[in-house]
């Protein structure tokens, strides 16, 4: 496997909350994946900390430490460099000699000529190219759907790739059978991708309800059927208990361990396994592309707009894969995917979970990372407004140490951030909800699922005895960066969050922003909606149903 499982560190919460920023690093590096101290990275501050949670530590696997980290230096590259991407292709180990920045879709269709996987859009939005990616998670192999059009071959090194051709084992997979007999295909071009998405659902969530089925289908467009027969086929398979993906066992993955460096055709793909390795590479190669899930960068790749001659992939960096939860904070390593974030935040912030479910698609959320979403610094990224309103902090790391910023201070200008050329985003820390806090985030777009926000507004207020004590409001789509609306926040403080307060808050928003007009909405629309969201928030907090999708 390439991607270490998301690791959950449960430190003593009280302790964590008393820690300084610097000490929090220690907490995060209580890496339960590290099997022994000899394999632990040298912490940037030069300390080694004992793992405190032996249960989680026991889940660790030697695969993270297949080679002693301290033995690796950049000078050794030649020894560990591989020309071939190594993975399971429909259950069989396959070595592909290919530039690691070739898309999986192009490779599938042109080299082994597995043409069941289709190109519909080459921007990760239609799902016709969906495949399943398998990786070891604890004691099982987990599969998720991914868009092969925006996935680089380097990203499947050490993983299992399942295509529609591999799903059928003698007879049709249950979802294939259910779709074939239920009129679920018309032209059939989207069908293999839909089959893969639903096979991923049937394997991972045998209890899926209709909402989960729609979540699984949000990344797949069908222009013929109107979806009803597709949803029905999914229900049928789920009702029958789901269906596992036939594929290699956990142990077999030991044979295809991720390679620290792939190189072919002039393209180099680094897969550092630790933060130290990553920081050394980053310092050495500041021009190299930092690759999270590739769900944004991969679009240009699919359009042959760009080559990735040198990539540093973050998906194997174990510190960046950690999730740390204390009594008062949730901290996510930068390479934690949105699907993994979703699983952790649902109980704390249902509104954030709803937003995340609308974030791309299952395919996108399974690859896309929280750090990548922030690092790409899109003014319309949906993560930052919510995280800013929640008061998230971002941790930046380099060989010279770590620094922590409020997330809103990270964004400087259009696609410009605080990130220095020797730094990486290490983690994002979100405070857990507190007594009296009300948090909501609203995404407004032309389509509910898998769309990009026209406006995204996030609101967080703390109230005591009915009075707003503090407020944080942030927007996407309203400026060149995700941005806080300080004046609007002030308009709420000290009020009872009544209609008049909402009106003055809305007025502050109207006065504050000068958004752009584009295909997602005019400046006037953005401004009016951003202001109107205050009224929605007020009513929502008061218990009213305020969204048509909640009906």
């Amino acid at each position: 496997m390439v991607r270490p499982q998301a690791l959950v560190c449960i430190c003593g919460g009280a302790l964590f909350d008393k820690l300084t920023m610097r000490e929090r690093v220690d907490c995060k590096e209580l890496n339960p994946a590290a099997p022994s101290l000899s394999c632990s990275p040298n912490l940037p501050h030069g300390e080694l900390v004992e793992p405190r949670n032996s249960v989680i530590a026991a889940k660790s696997s030697t695969r993270f430490c297949s080679r002693p980290l301290d033995a690796i230096t950049l000078a050794d590259e030649a020894d560990i460099m591989s020309n071939s991407v190594r993975f399971f292709l429909n259950g069989q180990i396959h070595e592909a000699n290919v530039r690691p920045d070739t898309t999986v879709l192009d490779w599938l269709r042109n080299v082994p000529r597995l043409t069941g996987t289709k190109e519909g859009c080459a921007e990760g939005d239609c799902g016709a190219c969906s495949v399943l990616i398998g990786h070891v998670d604890g004691d099982q192999v987990k599969y998720h759907a991914a868009n092969s059009c925006i996935l680089a071959m380097g990203q499947i090194d050490g993983r299992a790739l399942v295509t529609v051709e591999g799903l059928k084992t003698g007879e049709l997979h249950p979802i294939q059978a259910a779709m074939a007999e239920n009129g679920s295909s018309q032209c059939g071009f989207c069908t293999p991708g839909i089959v893969m998405s639903l096979a991923g659902l049937a394997a991972s969530n045998p209890q899926a309800d209709d909402e989960a089925i729609h979540d699984a289908l949000a990344g797949n467009l069908c222009r013929c059927t109107g979806y009803r027969p597709i949803v029905e086929a999914a229900r049928k398979v789920v009702a029958a208990g789901g269906a596992a993906i036939a594929g290699p066992h956990v142990a077999a993955f030991a044979e295809i361990e991720p390679q620290s460096m792939l190189s072919d055709g002039g393209a180099v793909f680094h897969q550092p396994a630790s933060l130290n390795e990553l920081l050394a590479l980053r310092s050495e190669k500041p021009e190299a592309i930092l690759l999270g899930g590739g769900t944004d960068l991969g679009v240009a790749l699919a359009d042959y707009h760009t080559d990735w001659n040198e990539v540093i992939a973050l998906a194997s960096v174990r510190e960046l894969r950690q999730i740390c939860e204390t009594d008062n904070h949730l901290s996510f390593g930068a390479a934690v995917t949105w699907e993994e974030v979703l699983a952790r935040v649902s109980a704390h912030y249902p509104s954030l979970a709803t937003l995340i479910r609308r974030f791309g698609s299952t395919q996108i959320r399974s690859m896309g990372t929280i750090g990548g979403n922030i690092g790409t610094a899109s003014p319309i990224g949906d993560g930052p407004p919510a995280l800013i309103a929640l008061g998230a902090e971002i941790e930046l790391a380099s060989l010279s140490g770590h620094r922590f910023l409020s997330l809103e201070d990270f964004f400087l200008d259009y696609r410009k951030t605080e990130l220095r050329s020797n730094e990486v985003i290490a983690s994002i820390s979100i405070p857990k909800p507190k007594e009296g806090q009300a948090f909501r985030v609203y995404k407004i777009s032309k389509r509910y699922d898998q769309d990009i926000s026209t406006v995204c507004g996030a609101f967080s207020v703390f109230r005591e005895e009915g009075q707003v004590r503090s407020a944080r409001i942030a927007f996407g789509g309203m400026a060149a960066t995700p941005i806080r609306a300080i004046e609007a926040e002030q308009a709420l403080v000290g009020t009872a969050l009544d209609r008049r307060a909402a009106e003055s808050c809305a007025a502050a928003i109207t006065a504050r922003f000068k958004p752009l007009s584009d295909w997602r909405g005019s400046a006037e629309y953005r401004l009016q909606v951003a202001a109107n969201l205050v009224e929605r928030f007020r009513r929502d907090v008061a218990g009213e149903t305020v969204e048509v999708m909640a009906l």
């Binding site: 921007e123 529609v164 679920s184 032209c187 089959v195 089925i213 109107g226 509910y448 009016q528």
Partner: protein
Amino acid sequence: MNIDPKIVQRSIVGKGIAHDSAARHVAGEANYIDDMPELPGTLHAVFVLSPVAHGKLNGFDASEALAMPGVAGVWSAKDVPGHNEVGPIHTGETLFAEDIVDHEGRVIAVVAAGDFETAYRAAKKVKLDIEPLEAVLDIEEAHRRKNYVVPVQEVIDGDVDAALASAPHVFSGKLKMGGQDHFYLETHIAYAIPGENGEMLVHSSTQHPTEVQHHVAGILGIHANAVECQVRRMGGGFGGKESQPTIIAGAAALISAKTGKPCKVRLKRRDDMAGTGKRHDFVVNWKVGVDGRGRILGLDAEYLARAGNLPDLTGPVITRALTHTDNSYHIPNARFVGHACKTNTVSNTAFRGFGGPQGIITIEAVIDTIARELKLDPNAVRAINYYGDGTGDTTPYGQKVEDNRLVEVTDAVLASADWQQRRAEIDAHNAANPIIRRGLAMMPVKFGISFNLTSLNQAGALVHVYLDGSIFLNHGGTEMGQGLFVKVAQVVAEVFQVDLDMVRISSTATGKVPNTSATAASTGSDLNGMAAFKAATAIKARLTTVAAEHFDVEEEVIIYREGRVHADNRSVSFGELAKMAWAKRVQLSEAGHYATPKIHWDGKTMKGRPFFYFSYGAAVAEVAIDTLTGETRCLRADILQDVGSPLNPAIDLGQIEGAFVQGMGWVTCEELWWDKTGRLRTVGPSTYKIPGSRDVPPIFNVRILDNMPNREETVFRSKAIGEPPLMLGISIWLAVRDAIASIAGSVPQLDSPATPEAVLRAVNQSSPSGSR
């Protein structure tokens, strides 16, 4: 030919049989053109497209592209050996731009290389020398300048001016409706393979193989008999592959002829969306005169259609808009005028409904306005205007509306949708909820079946019976997912009473069935089904003679059943009978041809009987809208659709549902957006949003009108299904209007699509205080 629906034995026709390719679709084993094995030496080609909306093309410099390893060449207008023509109707519609580029995405040249990526990168390196010219991007601006691509069309009946002058009430309005990208999942593609002696085989993702054949021949300067066009299946068409494939196939064939190598042209999604046509967006200005009960006395409607840079199919699209402005309503005095406005945007083209949706949304907006102005129930206004039975039954273009099922269909859907109860619930909800408003609407659709142009209403089919009793079927219709192949195979299997598996479905090929019409206008199964029926019936008649001789009985005694041929208690298998017939030197092959009867059309007077029959349907839709953001959601839809006696109700159900959702997309989330320079910025699914699975109403009741055989002699008394239900999606737009109207009771000023922004704008106009 007489097919009496009562006596025809039906063991295969009428069954809900799965799509013939379903098991291959789900396994990834259904091959599309890009999946075919590539021959050695295959070239891949990519277009060089104009980045500007209007300009003088002085030339281009391809030296950098040509210097790239693997690049085979660059071709443009001057390289065309025959005619640089790809228009479906008119001449002067060129494959490659000559002196002028007249829309962003206009094809200028094509670059080929040994692989797609190299060709794609090389195409981006061609340097264009274009002198920008003023671009006309707005429909109304083109109309002001009188820039049209074809002459004005008018449907005129009675005296509309007099009717409006004397009407007790006159209302008017303006409606802007957007276009729509087809967003077939498979983009345009063609694979040309050169043969000996100048022959060319073209695999094209086309709804119109004959047109591809003829244009390829014209481009290459050879006879049509040297070109064969084949298509096994398309990954969706929806009209987008009716006229446009000639561009792609023409370029592939040109390169193939020039190089002697096979050549594939496949469009990247953005090139497909920028470079090929879409549904026409329209602006319509209308004025209606009514009496106190809402009965229409006269309607004057002027349509401005965005043709884009060329005529393409804009003329016939406007014809269908004008002949569907009546929808289900008798309009005694009518003046419907259609202008084909020339703009510097990509030439619009056929799209499921083909002008029908634009005409029908217009009259539904008119009806809705009448009801709200007069404070009447919109359904009552509809009903009072329905075509009558024997009186008030003639359309403005002169066709009598026979076999009218409007009252039956709409009463049934209102009942099954619990209209009265829900109307009351929704009104109560709206009285109590200022922010989330609900709306409810019903609408009927009457859609004319046949190509408006009479000559297109013909089809051919080829049926062979082999000596093992297996049957080979070929016809002029193409399979784009609509289930045409299985339907026509059912017809043939029904005739011979053999298992459907015994009928081999084959790729559409111009060498097998020539001179076909496009698979379009919902006519695929009507035309090709009947042609195949005639071919199979002719063979069966000969086989029956052989069987009667064999059993020494009268022909009337011979019965075909379950793969055997019976005479009383004796029987032979179908294959044995085929062998006997062969031994008697009886022809076991037949080419059937069908021409739709009864229809005629005068394009000058715009009068006649263009449609063989009408299809009827009705829908009730309920929506919720958010008056703070303009977001909408369809909560429930109830549909009742007339399909005559269906050939395959499962396939028809899929067509109804899919068309409805596509229509819903047109009126809600699908928005084409050009910037001020005329560049289309919605060129992929990340920016152009078609409905997703969660957008489908959570309560979605779709029913087929039972036991209603077509009164006309169609194949097994079925009715066409491809297009009519698309227009039922307009019910959602009407329901959004209803929700908006609940705010102030005034007539909503809502354009289409009802995007959140459009809805909020209409909400603002309904709320005196502006921002709510």
